[in-house]
Amino acid sequence: MRIIHYEDIVEKVSKACQDVNFDIGSDVFDSFKKSLETETSENGKYILEQLIENAVIAKEERVPMCQDTGVAVLIVELGQDCHIVGGSLYSAINEGVVKGYSDGFLRHSIVGNPISRTTSTTYNTPAVIHIELLPGDQLILNLSAKGAGSENMSSMKMLKPSDGLQGVKDFIIETVRIAGPNACPPLIVGVGIGGNFERCAYLAKKSLFRPIGFRNISKEISTLEKDLIEEINKLGIGPQGMGGNTTALDVKIEMEACHIASLPVAINLNCHASRHKKIIM
């Protein structure tokens, strides 16, 4: 049995909330640079250059790369032989988010009531927390700061099994096309296929935690990912919807078993401010 202290979690989460908003991470940064070499439109190139400069300023000055510093979304890998002392895991994470968002001068972007829109929550909480219970005694917190511009253009549909692969591809392409400039392309397109209604959306979100350039281990799925990257980049949307061939930096797919009558597909779009961090406790 491994013991992990509440305070350690608070500190680590607080630091990660800040780091993730200031430092875009090398996978995204490198893909900006790579895209700049292949981007064909003038305005598209201009935007990629600005994004590179923006990322450098944010990292150097330790300021948020984007003013939408997002909702903290965590996928927690909790080993069943790991014991947390001093308080609950949920409150440790939320306390870490409050501390990180206030110490780092990050934006409070959560309303307590989605209908009346009153801002009555503690600093940018609650975080969205998913816990996966696993064998072993490790605790890994996968943190992301997810912006609303891209989240708002995400979509979920229960397709018919007869829609098949083409139906899945069409839905993905259509979602990216409709999102256009609103989701702040270049995008990372996260896709969940299978599971059920809620599981599918979770798979789409989870896929976004895989760094850019890392393919799904299944050959069938990695081929589909590559095909979709190509097709999406032919749409002509380009950086910020100004035209060009850099619409998606990557496509990530996670697939699971589902009911014989279903074909659930969820698409969770992420903007170029794809902020992810792995905290290993």
Partner: protein, 183 residues
């Protein structure tokens, strides 16, 4: 293509000279407002009350900045998605607003109203909040302070980068981009 330097508030000559797809660098005064401030201003117009600033001839930037660190003028300040303001924009344009800066599509009503009122819609680069903050030289909260990040701010900018999306002639860069690219 070089960026065109323009002064805000925009005069009619500047507006008429710009075409969708033009890159500009804006210097001058701009007001910030997003969802909640737009709702309040819209409701004030409905009730026949005056607005917190005279919108005639002015430019509104859709932004909710991050809190500024000590010593900073403003926190990160990139654009938010404009379509959420679509419901309110035509009445502000009828009231004399001459420019809007945000990101993403506008509704047909807004596009028509931009043409009718001979104004402009420009996009700033979404997700470049740190870079844009450097172009902001002063910032004062002038209304709705209780709205926090959504309060109305008066800012002065120097070479604020943006791209014209909807010009006063009815052109729409998002819709026309593929045609423009192949030219």
């Amino acid at each position: 293509m070089l960026s065109i330097k323009i002064i805000s508030p925009f005069d009619q000559k500047t507006i008429d000279s710009l075409k969708s797809g033009n890159r500009v660098l804006i210097t001058g005064t701009i007001y910030t407002a997003r969802d909640a401030a737009h709702k309040r201003m819209y409701e004030a117009i409905q009730r026949g009350e005056s607005l917190p600033f005279n919108v005639e001839g002015q430019v509104i930037y859709y932004v909710g900045p991050t809190p500024q660190k000590p010593g900073q003028i403003i926190g990160s300040a990139g654009p938010t998605t404009s379509e959420r303001m679509d419901k309110y924009s035509p009445s502000l344009l009828d009231y004399g607003l001459k420019g809007m800066i945000g990101k993403g599509y506008r509704s047909k009503e807004v596009v028509d109203s931009i043409k009718k009122n001979k104004s402009l819609y420009l996009a700033a680069i979404g997700g470049s909040g740190a870079l844009i903050a450097r172009t902001i030289k002063s910032m004062d909260v002038i209304a709705y302070e209780d709205l926090g990040t959504e309060a109305v701010r008066k800012i002065t900018v120097e070479n604020f980068p943006a791209i014209v999306i909807n010009d006063s002639y009815g052109n729409d860069w998002y819709a026309d981009k593929e045609i423009n690219q192949s030219k």
